[in-house]
C-alpha cells in the first residue's frame, strides 16, 4: 500500500468518528501504559469514542506519525482535529480543557 492510500484511510477515519483514539491494543486490553491512560481519561469523561489498534496495521502505525507530525501513540482526534498524545490529554483533562473542548465541538459527554 502506498503512503497516499494510508493517508486517505487515516483521513477518512478521523472524519468518520467524532472522537477517535489511535492506540496500541483495545479499550479492554490496552497494550501500553500510555494507551491505557488515554482510555481511562475518555472513560472518565463519559464520551463515546472509536479506537484504531495500530498494532493490527503496520501501515497506519507508521502513517499516523507522519499524518499528525507526532512521534508516539496514542493520538487523539476530535472532529477531525489532532488534539495530542497522552501527556496533553492528561494535562487538558486535569485543567478541564478537554471537557470544554468536547463541549465546544458539540460532542456530548455523560
Amino acid at each position: 500500500m502506498t503512503d497516499d492510500d494510508v493517508n486517505a484511510r487515516i483521513s477518512q477515519a478521523v472524519n468518520a468518528a467524532d472522537v477517535l483514539l489511535f492506540m496500541k491494543g483495545t479499550p479492554l486490553f490496552p497494550q501500553c501504559g500510555f494507551s491505557s491512560r488515554a482510555i481511562a481519561i475518555l472513560d472518565h469523561l463519559g464520551v463515546e469514542y472509536a479506537t484504531i489498534d495500530v498494532l493490527q496495521d503496520a501501515g497506519i502505525r507508521q502513517g499516523i506519525k507522519a499524518f499528525s507530525d507526532w512521534p508516539t501513540i496514542p493520538q487523539l482526534y476530535v472532529k477531525g482535529d489532532f488534539v495530542g498524545g497522552s501527556d496533553i490529554m492528561m494535562e487538558m483533562y486535569e485543567t478541564g480543557e478537554l471537557a470544554e473542548l468536547l463541549e465546544e465541538k458539540g460532542v456530548t459527554t455523560a
Binding site: F34, K65, P71, T72, F82, V83, D87, I88, E91
Partner: protein, 75 residues
Amino acid sequence: MESVEIERMIREAIPDADVEITDLAGDGDHYAARVVSETFRGQPRVRQHQRVYAALGGRMGGVLHALQLTTATPD
C-alpha cells in the same frame, strides 16, 4: 539514553529553555521532562510538544519510548 543527553539536545534547539528531567524508573529508559521556554508563549500545546520532539531528532518513539512531557511558559 542518558538524561544529560536529552537535556543537551533540547537546550540546543531551544536555547532559553529551562529543562528538568526526572528518571522515573531509575532504569535510564523512562523519563519525565518539563520544559519551560518564553518562546512557547502563544503556541498551542501540540506545537510546543512538537518542537521538543523535533529537538530530540527522531529519538522520541524510538530509543526514547517513555518520555512524559510537560511544557510551559515562564510565570
